[in-house]
Assembly symmetry: C2
């Protein structure tokens, strides 16, 4: 992907929707410099988070976007016709197209032909790159320090914690890279591999490729986006492949405060956090035993007093510095990574 | 796949080769009743392990095969022309075709057309079935008792141990099923899914499907073929997905006697066996905590005295019954599974 994307976020009919969100909102929050405008013909002339909302691709062109991002999930298998027209308008206007949809734009003959005619790229965020294989060991020879977020469950904010730590590292003047391993992370960062979409044998190879790429992009610290959970009955294989392939020097453990069960299923009680810490340490890659250095607690369901209480309890359970980086800032968690990062600073 | 396959093993030019082997030899050793003949025009009239060797597909037809099995790995991307002719002869003769090659016979337009014309099935042992998804929880509601082989490394005999235990269970009159999770196991048993070839998100779902299918085949005990190793840097993701998806009631831990390193790589020292035992127990599915009940030691590199010594040492390290089931029989390991199987017998 090009180093300097400028995004027109396609959000036709969705920009006011609360579910318009994970991808487009993530990009707006964590990569605002990459965004020039949103497109939603129903809200022309308004703004969203400070960005102008335009009604057509042509209206966005004076803002010099390079790339149109499909920022919403459309329903059903095929693109709705109105969306096809938007995608075609974008291609004809010379914009690359980036999509996290399950239906691949790069497998659509009409769009492929049009893109070739206009010299633009079609990028499917979930589509594995060609040529993946098993890891070669280059994950152990990178100069960068890698830190992986892991969790007691899925969908509790591992990506957000990695992004907040990356932002804090940049604020402190480090050359930091967020390493994206899923479609939303890829949309935010503009590169990456969706490790859950590769052939099972190549999970670790894809993860190795990602830390090699992160280091090649100049990262001296890599915050690798975690996926799934070692405790999750469906996604644990992806999680362990990512752990071994990205070969982190250390972990940050993410947990949703108050959650007692994996995926809310009472047959899957989450063990005490210190046991979850121990499990990740014991299963770390044999030549690079990694420790959990901090606990990121998602306290969104609690008021502030309860949040501080939950943080104190997690610290008592694990003996590790704990905080909610979204609510209270990432400084404390970042400081806990000091021993790993000290050599750099 | 049909319940009663009768195999013509296609081994043209390879039946005398020591590398002719893993698939064809596995079928001959563990499912001899499924084999009627081998085909190798260079050895017509000889026998192999008691089976006649024929020179053409036509010559095998009096033995009433139902299926031609590609029992060797051909080199290169495409089938050699002589092989294509053999495959076509088999199809024209009304035989189903079964192949573990990386090149899928079911993606070959000429073979697909011919198979349709002759009403036979093309089965690629490595090709994932359509419709795989994440697990649904039916792995926890099967009446069958599942036992999974796990290992300190890859390629140390997990499949063989599962097959030996299955054979011992049948010998004792149990309704036992070997549950195949890789191409050689699938060729031997005539059904299964190669779990390393599915999309990463669906490893556990595929493994769940396999134990459901194994129970549906009438198995009251399921010996699930292990894959990879939790300690292996490339394949651990497949291993953990298989552990969680197959939801075993217990494990048998496989180890190559004397091996100190994963994949022979001295950066990956294998921990003491009791730690490997503990890791598998700690990471077992939360609603079905599984124990390692026995250690299967592969002593092929040792003389008999050294083998017995190694078995004694592994027993001392783990406190678990240990044996080499290929060398000394599967009785002792099977007896160690008694507490799991007692309810059945």
């Amino acid at each position: 992907m090009p180093a300097a994307r400028k995004l027109l976020i396609l959000a036709e009919g969705f920009s006011g929707d609360p579910h318009f969100g994970k991808t487009a909102r993530g990009v707006i929050r964590y990569r605002p410099d990459d965004v020039v405008a949103l497109l939603d013909s129903q809200r022309v002339g308004e703004t969203q988070d400070g960005f102008p909302i335009v009604g057509t691709v042509a209206d966005a062109l004076p803002l010099e976007p390079t790339t149109a991002l499909v920022g919403v999930a459309t329903q059903g298998g095929r693109f709705p016709q109105a969306w096809r027209e938007l995608l075609k308008d974008s291609i004809v206007a010379g914009l690359d197209l980036e999509s996290g949809l399950h239906e691949f734009v790069s497998d659509d003959p009409e769009l492929v032909e049009l893109a070739a005619a206009h010299g633009v790229e079609l990028r499917d965020l979930r589509k594995p790159p060609p040529g993946l294989d098993v890891p070669t060991g280059t994950n152990l020879t990178q100069a960068a320090t890698s830190i992986l977020t892991v969790g007691s469950d899925c969908a509790i904010g591992k990506m957000t914690v990695s992004l907040e730590l990356d932002r804090e590292a940049r604020r402190r003047g480090l050359r930091s890279e967020f390493v994206p391993t899923g479609q939303t992370g890829i949309a935010i960062a503009g590169w990456g591999i969706s490790v859950d979409a590769v052939i099972a044998d190549f999970i670790a190879g894809a993860a190795e490729q990602l830390v090699v790429d992160g280091a090649a992009r100049g990262g001296e610290v890599l915050f690798v986006e975690g996926q799934g959970s070692l405790l999750h009955p469906a996604y644990s294989g992806v999680t362990l492949g990512l752990i071994h392939g990205s070969a982190p020097h250390g972990y940050v453990l993410c947990h949703l405060a108050g959650e007692r069960y994996v995926d809310g299923d009472d047959r899957f009680p989450i063990p005490p956090l210190h046991e979850v810490v121990s499990l990740h340490e014991q299963i770390s890659l044999l030549p690079r035993r990694a420790k959990v250095h901090a606990v990121a607690l998602n306290t969104r369901q609690l008021d502030e007093a309860a949040a501080r209480q939950a943080i104190a309890e997690a610290e008592a359970d694990t003996g590790l510095p704990t905080d909610d980086p979204v609510r209270f800032g990432a400084e404390k968690l970042f400081d806990a990574l000091g021993p790993l990062i000290a050599g750099i600073n």
